[in-house]
């Protein structure tokens, strides 16, 4: 704030674009916020100039943030125009509220926005993906924005200087004491550096998952770009690594590349064989640092069930936490009856639904809490399924 004030002092208040540039340079921290800032700034001036009426109009046409995965799956039906602003409308409070003299009008505009969209969102959050119309699917995709994803951290072996930690930093303490002729005046301490855990995603793309696959892969793509790097695999009858294909910022391009590099899209399912391949070829390379593994599948399996159980047990031992997302779990009255699902369940740490946005939000919350304390693993007893 002080910085903005001094910047405005230097720049002067005669020219609006100069003021905008000054405010931008002092208030905006990341590329993502640039667009939102522009909207807020223009809205502020629009409200001042044209009076209070304009202030209550919802802010239309929120452009995509520049760094977000470009969502070119496109609105297939234009749908209700009032639905369009739902997506990015909640302006980042940091940029929106930061200005020198935020008028009540702008805040009113924001509140009008939020209350206007809240009811539309609420329904969308709870709606099953399989029952959504194309317009709703588009809105759902936009809602799953990066920024909300973070992973729990693990303690690494690397020590860094940290006041108040437990370990004694002999090196630094003695070194600083040399400056005082050997008198130890200050005690320095070392703490363990924490790093974000690795995430490995195994997504089922067989025929039975067809209604969900594309959307869930979109979700995988979003997560990958939010977290920076994620190992992703898809499987049906075989396992294919798709980490490189997710590299594209353009979602449609990434998904198309995945579809073209996978030979068994929407085919049969052999979860056991795929996990066997994963355990043998990839586990040692990607699970080394206490990674979290998420399997997204409905559990319908046509392969060898005993192999499935064996590989699940091996996978649970190698992974830090094994999460199974089942899109069928969300529907009322679902109980894991299939042999495949029942065989795998004893080795799953968290059994969660993945059928609507709310379940994805809850997954995001769970991932943030995974930290250096191990989950309670019951030997061979299935965890309580979280039915909704």
């Amino acid at each position: 704030m002080v910085l903005l004030a001094s910047a405005l002092e230097c720049v002067g208040l005669e020219r609006r674009d100069d003021v905008k540039a000054a405010a931008r340079s002092t208030l905006v921290r990341t590329k993502d916020e640039l667009d939102r800032f522009d909207i807020a700034f223009d809205a502020f001036w629009r409200a001042r100039v044209s009076g209070a009426d304009d202030a209550t109009a919802p802010i239309h046409g929120v452009p995509r943030d520049r760094d977000d995965p470009v969502d070119r799956e496109g609105p297939s039906e234009s749908g209700d125009p009032t639905q369009a602003p739902t997506a990015g409308a909640p302006l980042d409070p940091r940029t929106a509220d930061g200005g020198a003299a935020r008028p009540a009008s702008l805040n009113a505009a924001k509140d009008a926005d939020r209350s206007f969209t809240f009811s539309a969102d609420e329904g969308l959050y709870a709606k099953d993906f399989a029952e959504m119309t194309s317009a709703e699917l588009d809105a759902a995709r936009r809602l799953a924005q990066p920024g909300v994803w973070d992973l729990g951290r693990r303690r690494t072996r690397r020590m860094v200087a940290r006041a108040g930690a437990d370990a004694f930093d002999a090196r630094r303490t003695l070194r600083s004491s040399l400056r005082r002729g050997g008198e130890v005046v200050e005690l320095y301490r070392l703490g363990r550096k924490t790093k974000r855990r690795d995430l490995v995603l195994l997504c089922d793309i067989s025929g039975s998952m067809d209604r969900y696959s594309r959307l869930l892969l979109h979700f995988v793509h979003t997560v990958r770009h939010a977290l920076g790097s994620v190992e992703a695999f898809v499987f049906g009858t075989r396992l294919t690594r798709v980490t490189h294909q997710l590299h594209h910022r353009d979602t449609r391009l990434a998904l198309d590349e995945i579809a073209s590099s996978v030979a068994d899209w929407a085919g049969g399912t052999r979860i056991g064989d795929s996990l066997f391949h994963f355990n043998r070829t990839w586990a040692r390379r990607v699970l080394g640092r206490g990674a979290i593994v998420i399997i997204i599948s409905d559990g319908w399996d046509r392969g060898d069930v005993r192999l499935l159980a064996k590989e699940m047990r091996r996978l649970q031992r190698s992974a830090y936490r094994l999460i199974w997302l089942n899109p069928l779990l969300g529907s009322a009255g679902y109980r894991p009856q299939t042999i495949g699902m029942r065989a795998a369940l004893p080795y799953v740490d968290d059994f969660l639904p993945a059928n609507n946005l709310r379940s994805l939000v809850e997954l995001a919350e769970l991932l943030q809490t995974v930290d250096h304390r191990r989950p309670l693993r019951r030997q061979g007893v299935p965890p309580v399924a979280l039915a909704r």
């Binding site: 690494t156 072996r157 090196r171 003695l174 070194r175 004491s177 040399l178 002729g181 043998r280």
Partner: protein, 304 residues
């Protein structure tokens, strides 16, 4: 001084043979290039295929010191490069104080002198003023973290180390650098690009027999060959962890220790623990087909 760098790939092969390291031609070519171009050698492969051995053999055959840096997560400059012996320094100061009015300048010179510098592997490899040049083995670089890789890049690119209080140490003869990795993590491109890369695979029956023969003195050639054929058969099966060359050598030594003249089903089942270290694999292999495996191994051993 004596670099003795081999002049051709054939020379490298001869050198490795003299050092009792059985290598295939591609590896010899890569080693030759690494030596001639003064680039680090990056060896990747499953555990127990002989990556570390390469460095040991090179050190032995080229009359160089072998300096080994074992990597682990959290390895940092203090453990890898150098450190000051603070305790000794403080003691020195105290003693000087108690003696007479110490001259501060002289004292400072002393406590940051070479006597108080603890050289760690990277600096030991670069500072060859005291003796022969070095082979620097950086073992299991995939166990170190990214911060260490960045640090290593810096050190490797200059072949010199600057200690602010003392000056710069420069290698008169650049050390031969060998990095090994078990591929439990993808090492970053920046580091790999500086090196010459070689994937070391399991040897074939022929080569493995030669290795076993040289490492297990007193073993019959026939038995060694049979053992290698058996292990080769195991490697073709879908096990969780295939036995490496080190395991084959252990097993051969075990057979000799047991006085076994022949490999039959019973001996194989009893000593399977030398080869397979995972319970699932052991169970999978104890499936009653051991007799068939032994028969197949006999066939393979005769065939080659």
């Amino acid at each position: 001084m004596n670099p003795k760098i081999p002049a051709s790939v054939d020379d490298v092969e001869a050198l490795l043979r003299r050092g009792e390291y059985v290598a295939d031609r591609p590896l010899a070519v890569t080693i030759f290039l690494a030596l001639s171009l003064s680039k680090p050698l990056f060896l990747e492969g499953e555990a127990g295929v002989g990556k570390t051995e390469v460095a040991k053999v090179l050190a032995r055959m080229l009359d160089r010191r072998l300096i080994r840096l074992q990597c682990y997560e959290g390895l940092d400059a203090n453990h890898a490069l150098y450190e000051w012996n603070y305790a000794k320094q403080i003691l020195h100061i105290r003693l000087a104080e108690s003696a007479s009015v110490a001259e501060r300048a002289a004292l400072e010179q002393e406590i940051f002198g070479p006597a108080f510098l603890v050289k760690r592997p990277l600096l030991q490899a670069i500072d060859d003023s005291g003796g022969p040049p070095a082979v620097l083995l950086i073992d299991e670089i995939d166990r170190a973290d990214e911060e260490f890789e960045a640090f290593l890049l810096e050190v490797l690119s200059d072949n010199q180390v600057t200690v602010p209080e003392l000056g710069t140490f420069k290698a008169t003869v650049p050390p031969i650098v060998v990095l090994t990795s078990n591929r439990t993590r993808e090492v970053h491109d920046a580091l790999k690009r500086r090196c010459l890369y070689q994937w070391i695979d399991y040897p074939d029956i022929e080569r493995e027999s030669a290795i076993v023969a040289s490492k297990v003195p007193g073993i019959e050639a026939r038995l060694a060959r049979l053992a290698c054929a058996f292990v080769a058969g195991l490697r073709a099966e879908p096990l969780y962890k295939h036995p490496g060359v080190a395991e084959t050598i252990d097993w051969a030594a075990a057979l000799v220790a047991l006085g076994a003249q022949e490999i039959d089903e019973r001996v194989a089942v009893e000593t399977i623990g030398c080869l397979l270290k995972y319970q699932e694999d052991v169970k999978k292999v104890a499936d009653g087909a051991m007799g068939m495996r032994v028969a197949r191994a006999r066939q393979a051993a005769i065939g080659t």
